[in-house]
């Protein structure tokens, strides 16, 4: 046919990557900035000094080696749970059930961690640690498989079903921790399990800091998830189902199976958040530990644009804010709750990114809007 517009098709893909990466990060970054500004105004209205408050926040989260170590400790469960939610989103599924899957993961990890030695099973750490972690992964996976299966077979909406599963999980957890799994040490009055065996624990990286290998593991898992999503046929199927299930069917993908697999992997990641908290940080599970991570994870996935790298960055940010909040309160008497406000604002600005685009005059990349499907063209 006529002369072909051969333009710069040979441009290296790396620079394209960088450009699109920076482009994607622009709105989330501005959302965070805007939330911080509005949060600052709230602090000022409450009679505080926003600059002192943020200085305290930064000091508390990055001001010393210990602060940085603590930030990573906070960020670890966020990364796992954030990946869980993001993975679901990639497959077109909104997994609100990370909270329950995480709780179950923690319970199962704790049960294996303290239960096996009680039964007289004595395992070396190289076996016991993975076993404990995997117990949590399996628990989370199974818990998510149920709503996945309901969706795949009957079209039951995963949002409703994962919320239901949260209630069930949290109540069962509460029962277990108050009853059969309760730490029966005579001094204990709280709902918590006994400590897990020493040989089931993930160690810290350096002697005097809580910074633990679980964080490194979280980063590795983020890479793994990226690999699965973008480099494997499974990931291709998941993303296709998530983007256009009709085309997925046309292409021969078994959509029902992919829905279930997506939910299982998502739940497994959430379960892993729970089991890593138990094996690497608390060495037991306690009612009230890890509450709300599953919900914060939704904000983290959205802020991270459902990309593993974005999830890691967003988790570090959320971890830093949670961690630095105490210092901020200590320095300026501004209550830590302001952090929840800022996080809520971040979520608001990320979700309603039109606001951010409007404020900063970012022209929307005209992606074609298709409301009803004509024949396409």
């Amino acid at each position: 046919m006529a002369e072909k517009e051969k333009t710069s098709s040979s441009q290296p893909r790396i620079s394209g990557w960088l450009r699109s990466g920076l482009n994607t990060m622009l709105v989330p970054a501005l959302a965070v900035l805007t939330a911080m500004i509005v949060g600052g105004i709230v602090i000022a209205l409450a009679g505080g000094n926003p600059f002192a408050a943020y200085a305290g926040l930064i000091e508390g989260s990055f001001g010393s080696l210990n602060a940085i170590s603590e930030t990573t400790v906070w960020a670890t469960p966020y990364i796992f749970a954030g990946l869980a939610v993001a993975f679901g989103f990639k497959g077109g599924l909104f997994n609100i059930g990370a909270e329950g899957q995480l709780a179950f993961g923690a319970v199962m990890a704790a049960l294996v961690g303290y239960g096996l030695p009680l039964m007289g099973v004595d395992l070396p750490a190289v076996v016991f640690v993975p076993l404990t972690v995997v117990a949590g992964i399996i628990a989370g996976g199974i818990w998510a498989a149920i709503p996945g299966w309901l969706k795949a077979k009957f079209g039951g909406h995963e949002v409703i079903n994962t919320i239901m599963m949260n209630y069930i999980a949290l109540n069962i957890t509460s029962y277990l921790l108050n009853g059969p799994m309760k730490d029966n040490n005579p001094l204990n009055v709280v709902a918590r399990t006994p400590l897990i065996a020493e040989s089931a624990r993930i160690s810290t990286v350096f002697p005097d800091y809580r910074f633990h290998w679980g964080f490194i593991l979280a980063l590795l898992v983020a890479v793994l998830i990226w690999f699965i999503l973008w480099k494997t046929t499974l990931g291709f199927e998941i993303r296709t189902v998530g983007t256009n299930p009709d085309a997925a069917r046309y292409a021969g993908v078994n959509v029902s199976n992919i829905i279930i697999i997506t939910m299982v992997i998502s739940g497994a990641l959430a379960g892993m958040a729970g089991s890593i908290e138990v094996t690497a940080l608390n060495y037991r599970h306690e009612l009230g530990f890890a509450v709300g991570y599953g919900f914060d994870a939704i904000a983290i996935a959205l802020l991270g644009k459902n990309h593993p790298a974005g999830v890691v960055l967003a988790s570090l940010l959320f971890g830093a804010m949670r961690n630095g909040a105490t210092r901020m309160q200590f320095n300026t008497q501004i209550p830590v709750d302001i952090i929840s406000i800022i996080q809520a604002l971040i979520l608001l600005f990320v979700a309603a990114d039109a606001i951010v685009r409007y404020i900063y005059h970012i022209r929307i990349q005209q992606d074609r809007l298709v409301l009803t499907r004509g024949w396409g063209g």
């Binding site: 046919m1 006529a2 002369e3 072909k4 517009e5 333009t7 710069s8 098709s9 441009q11 893909r13 394209g16 973008w230 480099k231 494997t232 046929t233 499974l234 291709f236 199927e237 993303r239 296709t240 983007t243 256009n244 009709d246 085309a247 997925a248 069917r249 046309y250 292409a251 021969g252 993908v253 078994n254 022209r363 005209q366 992606d367 074609r368 809007l369 298709v370 409301l371 009803t372 499907r373 004509g374 024949w375 396409g376 063209g377």
Partner: protein, 508 residues
Amino acid sequence: MYIKDAPVILSAEAITKQFPGVLANDKVNFDLRKGEVHTLLGENGAGKSTLMNVLYGLYKPDSGHIHIDGKPVTFTSPKDAIANGIGMVHQHFMLIPVFTVAENIMLGSETTRNGVLDIRAVSKQVRELSHTYGLDVDPDALVQDLPVGIQQRVEIVKALYRKANILILDEPTAVLTPQEADDLFQIIRRLTEQGVSIVFISHKLKEVLAISDRVTVMRTGKVVGTTTPQEVNEAKLAAMMVGREVILKVDKKPAKPGEPVLSVSDFSVMDSRGVEVVKKISFEVRSGEVLGIAGIQGNGQTELAEALTGLRKVHGGRVILNDKESTGRPPRQLIENGLGHVPEDRQRHGLVLPFAIADNMMLCTYYQEPFAQKGVLQNQAIDANSRKLIEQFDVRTPSPYVSAGKLSGGNQQKVIVARELSRPIRLLVANQPTRGLDVGSIEYIHHEIIDMRDKGIGVLLISAELDEIMALSDRIAVMFRGEIVATLPAAEANREQLGLLMAGATHK
């Protein structure tokens, strides 16, 4: 009144619009006189939709001016364009399926009474408009229940409701049955009589010659020239568009049919409401032949194609594909038995729009070598495959990593056809394979299909274009109300006879 003397009401001067890697409009000049039908013609990706989107305020041009009634205007959004009397019916519709016609029409310019939506007043106005222009629509029907032809009318009424006196119709006839297209031309004539001016885009040269007052031809972002139907014919227009002679007639050797690759017996399919729309039909497609299914759209062809390709449940009967039992088998198995499928709805089934062209070009075989090894995607093979097909099928894109959604309509279709024809298939089910393609691309794809046939592949061609059916088929089966009412050798078929059969003339 004659158009030549009618005043220019819209003019665009030196419009330039650059997309990453593509100069979609290059100093384009275009003007529209009152009451005329001015057609834009050009290859897929020539920049027609882009120019229209600029005139409608959807894209901001990099440079250039727009004048309405001689006054300069700048549009920052379609709101401004609408305020200046411009209405647009997009290449793909922008209606909300779960809303009623009246609700859709009102959307964006809601009428309220005491703060409450006044849907009744809108319904009434819609009825009046329908009446004035002969645009029959039921304001209370849900859009999702309407056939495309009517949905398109809704779009037109919506524009008129907003007092448009300039109407942009971007490939309106691509989705219409010939009957619906004729209705649309009636409507267009009535609108122009009332002083509405129309920009019309189409790849169908016959109708362009029939309906236009003037024709402007674009190629690779530039205007090649403006002419009138009196000065040109189909061949001339085609040559202007493509820049070379186009052979509008398919040149093919007699078929050498072999063994059947598809045999269908007593095949029944229901539509989504549970009505039987394919009724116990039986037919065969042999290797090395093209069986064309002619019929007015809505006589069961869509459901037939979907059920044969695993996208819809089979209600009864039997399908043997390539000697293997294939009744009601899932798409994966059919694909592995040698099925290629160009689906009717390219954006719904055929493409994952946000994915790169390269990914879309291996959509059905992503898990096979060389695209994947041990479950890991092989980027090099994916890249090489897409570059080869882009070159071979002349897909106009700056790179294989542009998302399919950013391609022009015709180029999206080429991606699908390229993908399906490049696989090792035994049977090709092609449903409207050239819908929305320019004449040059149609020529190429027809050529490819005949080539496939000569290589011993069986082709089941479903098309709303009688010309296409007659040009490609070796045998023609006519479908009417879910049944095959006649099967005849293409050599013996003529338009009139087919037309009668399609209208159910032999039907008791």
